[in-house]
């Protein structure tokens, strides 16, 4: 089949849902209408630790239009056992149960839900709910809890703990002629997707619900609802057709889902609950962290020892974990490695996966440290990375299914003009601006997850492909349409993709950059199965021109199935269906990891990020004037949406380097900059030239489609490339992210 040409895969293709989105026709969770809809507003605690001793909800009940005020004293019934509250991606611990008791474990923790017949009445009444507390001592400051850090006793599923040490890293460090040991920190970040969390729960009678929810996994959220509320699976349908960004924050069901469903079941009405922007700061976040990286090298720059320790924040009720330090054991060749990762409990909500969880902060620290080491050795920062290239994963002793990182270095450097770099810091200047160039390597997992899909071919030749995937702005609608179209040689408009619905074929949550590889491959498998069924019917027809053909000999295009070597031998799909008395052919496709292959091989996406900054040193102002991100990500299905993924990741990386941080008043245990005016992400003006390069990388092992995924690799390495460029410009090394004006002036 590979002989037929792909018309759509590999071609820059506009989003099939683009027009719906820009014309406002794409509906998001909180936009679905329902008859007699009620509106909920959440009230948050004003302390970070303690107990509620009294709640005054009477003024709220007096507001015209208020239907009910739920608190821990009258909330609806829900599951008793912890495990009933654990969703697919939950870390070990006791999942948060809204209104479960009078205990307060973080600021802004929901203490009441006001339900009213209008959003305005609900908001008004919510502002009138007050509570009295028995205040307990809280701590939101990781620094103060570092000494109590612990290795999480129970591992989070899917997150590899740091590998055992190899070699003798302490002695190698001691003996090496050149070494550094540095402390880094990336301040806590909040996802802040454009779309606020919202759920519209439509009550269909008899505990039957249709739920529109902002989630990255319709089936994960549906499973949570049925488990928490003891509902029959067939009675709960959860839809997430469009998701206005998420970055990992919607992997786990957030509490507005619980509230909408709880109120709906209790009141036997349809209920909508949305979070406000401020309340978005009281859900998961990228953990605060302190990291120490110690590197030693010989005089040529070959790594002799790598030690990387990280302490990251978690909540008092769950042990959130991510792979922060593991990267330091596999990005470069080194025989002596020691990696450690510990947690410290704070009075915050449980952190949650945020774009490239773990790597985004861990690789940042490693890549800054390696840059520092390159200056100690006196070697070009790109050269030290090439010199220490790892040709296998030394953590697991497995081969990479592919690793075109050298091509990333080469093509990225050429596009950037790295060879013109002056090696000495502070050697490039233009007016008030010092100019600096920095580089970093990036790395992220390339997963294939279990996924299922169906393909349904109609007699008129049109195709529908279905899988319960989510599109969080990544382009899933479009690539699945492209894959279906190429399988049957159809124009895009003859293919309909169906995603974002828990009733569709089984899909993992949309995360980890695995959707294109997993759901894409499942759709392709379903299409192949449908094509094979079509072929069997074609073969069976009287006087079939394909009677002597094998499936491998034929292709489908232009509404016909034909021999590739003799296209005159053909049959129309409509003819075949008519002869077989069929209106449609529907088949399933399934994919999953090849466990046998996984004994020997492991897959990653790689990148090289080059950054140019201009620093007005006197005023501490940094501008990132150029980024070149060269990525090796296997097969690129849609260069247009793929590029957008990298652009978004790079912008977020610039935010990590220069802007984003939750500012917490530790006396109060409160985040103070809880809005988008004061929690800074890059504005358009902060983003200048970003060039994206996809290097050739052919990988038949990583996934049936040869795809690796791109959602996360763009952020990994960007912050470190920027920080390294700032050092090159100024000779100042700031190790505490974001690198703001005050830190540069003090450096």
């Amino acid at each position: 089949m590979s002989l037929t040409e792909n018309i759509h895969i590999g071609r820059p293709t506009n989003r099939v849902d683009g027009r719906l989105k820009v014309t406002g026709q794409a509906k998001y969770a909180a936009e679905y209408p329902a008859a007699d809809l009620l509106h909920g507003a959440i009230v948050g605690s004003t302390i970070a630790a303690g107990r509620i001793t009294a709640l005054n909800v009477e003024p709220a009940r007096q507001v015209p239009g208020v239907v009910e005020v739920f608190t821990h004293e009258n909330r609806g019934k829900a599951a008793w056992l912890d495990r009933s509250w654990r969703d697919e991606v939950a870390p070990p611990g006791h999942p948060f149960r809204p209104l479960h008791s009078d205990r307060i474990l973080f600021d802004g923790q929901p203490i009441a839900l006001v339900v009213a017949d209008s959003y305005e009445a609900a908001r008004d009444a919510a502002s009138l709910v007050s509570a009295e507390y028995e205040v307990r001592e809280h701590c939101t400051e990781l620094e103060r809890k570092r000494s109590e850090a612990y290795v999480p006793p129970e591992k989070r599923s899917g997150i590899p703990p740091p590998p055992d040490p190899r070699g003798d890293p302490e002695k190698a460090f001691e003996d090496a002629p050149i070494k550094i040991s540095r402390d880094y920190r990336v301040n806590a970040e909040h996802h802040n997707p454009m779309e606020m969390f919202g759920t519209t729960c439509v009550y269909e009678g008899n505990d039957k619900l249709t739920i529109y929810d902002k989630t990255q996994g319709s089936q994960n959220a549906q499973g949570y609802v049925t488990s928490v509320f003891g509902l029959k699976s067939k009675n709960v349908r959860l839809i997430n057709h469009y998701v206005g960004g998420a970055f990992g924050s919607a992997l786990r069901p957030q509490h507005q889902l619980f509230f909408a469903v709880m109120a709906s079941l209790e009141l036997k009405r349809s209920v909508r609950v949305s979070l406000t922007r401020s309340q978005m700061f009281h859900i998961g976040y990228r953990p605060d962290n302190y990291q120490t990286v110690s590197l030693a090298a010989d005089r040529e720059g070959r790594l002799r020892s790598i030690m990387h320790d990280a302490v990251a924040s978690t909540s008092h009720y769950e042990d959130y974990q991510e792979a922060v330090v593991n990267w330091s054991g596999m990005m470069y060749h080194c025989d002596n490695v020691k990696l450690s990762y510990r947690l410290a409990k704070l009075h915050t909500p449980t952190p949650c996966d945020m774009r490239a969880p773990g790597a985004a902060i861990g690789v940042t620290a490693l890549e800054c440290a390696l840059d520092e080491l390159s200056y100690e050795v006196g070697i070009d920062p790109l050269e030290i990375r090439r010199l220490n290239f790892a040709s296998k994963d030394e953590n697991t002793d497995k081969q990479f299914t592919s690793k075109a990182l050298h091509a990333c270095y080469r093509e990225g450097a050429a596009a950037f003009g790295w060879d013109k770099r002056k090696s000495v810091p502070r050697s490039m200047q233009d007016g008030h601006d010092l100019i600096g160039w920095g580089v970093s390597t990036g790395m992220w997992d390339a997963f294939l997850q279990k996924a299922e899909a169906t393909a349904k071919l109609s007699a008129d030749g049109k195709l529908e492909v279905s899988t319960a995937a989510s599109d969080i702005g990544t382009g899933t609608w479009t690539i699945l349409t492209q894959i279906g179209a190429d399988a049957f040689g159809l124009p895009l408009e003859d293919v309909t993709a169906r995603i974002g619905d828990s009733t569709l074929p089984t899909s993992p949550v949309e995360g980890g950059s695995w959707t294109a590889a997993s759901n894409g491959s499942a759709v392709q498998a379903a299409c192949e199965a449908a094509k094979e069924t079509l072929f069997k019917h074609a073969k069976k027809m009287a006087n079939s021109p394909l009677a002597d053909s094998e499936f491998e000999d034929v292709a489908v295009s232009g509404g016909c199935i034909f021999r590739i070597d003799d296209p005159g031998k053909r049959l129309a799909i409509s003819e075949i269906m008519h002869a077989a008395d069929l209106e449609e052919i529907e088949e399933e496709g399934k994919v999953g990891p090849d466990l046998l292959q996984m004994m020997k091989y492991i897959s990653y996406t790689h990148s090289a990020v080059f950054a140019e900054v201009r620093v007005d040193e006197e005023l501490g102002i940094v501008r990132v004037t150029r980024i070149v991100c060269a990525a090796a990500a296997g097969r690129i299905l849609n260069p247009k949406t793929a590029r957008s993924q990298i652009l978004g990741g790079v912008v977020m990386g610039i935010g990590m380097a220069l802007h984003e941080e939750a500012m917490t008043d530790h006396r109060l245990g409160k985040i103070m900059n809880h809005n988008l005016a004061e929690y800074h992400i890059p504005a358009h003006a902060d983003i200048e030239n970003i060039e994206v390069i996809f290097v050739d990388e052919h990988d038949e092992k990583v996934s049936p489609l040869g795809v690796k995924g791109l959602g996360e690799i763009g952020i990994v390495g960007t912050a470190s490339a920027v920080a390294n460029a700032i050092f090159h410009a100024t000779g100042k090394r700031v190790r505490d992210f974001p690198i703001t004006i005050d830190k540069l002036l003090a450096a």
């Binding site: 507001v63 502002s127 007005d616 802007h659 500012m663």
Partner: protein, 337 residues
């Protein structure tokens, strides 16, 4: 957000009558008031929507200046030909602020009356003397990297967030207000106030008064001026420090100098005694540093914002160089000139 009554008067006297009840609030562009209502910081019993009042004109004054109606939008003001020709400092300052969408909605009067961006003021679960007098100031000893280095009090360390007002302070504008007791004109330097023991009062307007216009006297700062704004990102961020400069030159020396600072105090900060240091002097970095040191003599950091003192010093020197050289900061150019 609470329930409220809403009225939309057609003329100024009806508006003033409507404002007579204590819990009324004026709605113009709404870019700040509506946010504050969503945060339950403002809970007005009545909204007086003044958008139908005839206050949208920019007209010449007999003295040769301009009178700007209170409802002229920030965008219209910044791009008005007379403003751009005679008061480019004002146009530049406006364009350094907010975003085009906000400037389209925001009005001249509203810009003067915008509230501080102090994090604590915006969070009703915290103590704040400006929001709830007598409760204390949480910003002292708290998250205060954006707070005041000049003119603060033990009761409040908030700063005024406007860019436009910094230029108006340098231009010696005045504010026309009208209330139950008639009309009056307030010099710009007297309009906003320092927090003292009454930080709930941002300005010297009386209860029930309405801004009708901002009046600009004739200006000679068309050639040697600048508005330099230093912030945490290149757009849509409030100033950490901003500097408005207007100079007139005589031969190679400075004749008159006006320098106003934003982002550093509860009001746009002028030090007219320090400005006198510049008069008759030939400009150089040493002179500018001497001036900046004089302005910052009373400066006092709160911990996280200590850096703003040095940043203000450097920003003043750079801005004075820009103004003297006749190369004002272009708000569409990202690098600082």
């Amino acid at each position: 957000m609470n329930r409220f009554d809403y009225v939309r008067p057609d003329n100024v006297s009806d508006a003033i009558r409507a404002l007579a009840t204590g819990s009324s609030k004026v709605l113009a562009g709404g870019t700040n008031l509506v946010d504050l209502m969503k945060y339950d910081v403002e809970r007005p019993g009545r909204i007086v929507d003044i958008n139908r009042l005839p206050l949208k004109e920019i007209t010449p004054t007999a003295e040769g200046g301009l009178r700007i109606g209170a409802l002229v939008s920030n965008t219209d003001l910044a791009w008005n030909d007379d403003i751009r020709r005679q008061y480019p400092l004002l146009a530049s300052a406006i364009l350094a602020g907010a975003s085009p969408q906000l400037r389209n909605a925001a009005t001249t009067g509203g810009n003067l009356l915008q509230r501080t961006r102090c994090y604590y003021f915006y969070d009703p679960s915290t103590a704040c003397n400006k929001r709830d007098p007598g409760t204390g100031c949480s910003a002292i000893g708290g998250v205060n990297r954006i707070h005041a280095i000049l003119g603060a009090s033990p009761d409040c360390i908030a700063v005024h967030p406007s860019d436009m007002c910094v230029a108006l302070a340098a231009l010696n504008a005045s504010v026309d207000v009208e209330g139950p007791d008639g009309k009056r004109s307030i010099p710009f330097s007297d309009f906003h106030r320092l927090p003292g023991s009454e930080p709930q009062r941002d300005n010297t307007m009386s209860s029930g008064e309405l801004i009708t216009a901002v009046v600009l006297p004739p200006s000679d700062f068309g050639a040697n001026y600048t508005y330099l704004k230093i912030r945490d990102r290149l757009s849509y961020a409030f100033a950490l420090v901003s500097v408005a400069v207007g100079l007139t030159l005589k031969a190679d020396a400075i004749d008159e100098a006006r320098v106003a600072l934003g982002g550093v105090a509860h009001k746009p900060w002028r030090d007219t005694a320090a400005e006198e240091l510049l008069r008759g002097q030939r400009p150089d970095t040493q002179l500018f540093l001497k001036f900046a040191d004089q302005v910052l003599t009373p400066a006092h950091g709160q911990g996280e914002n200590n850096f703003k003192i040095e940043l203000a010093r450097r920003a003043m020197v750079r801005a004075l160089h820009q103004a003297f050289a006749g190369t004002p900061q272009d708000q569409s150019v990202k690098s600082v000139q």
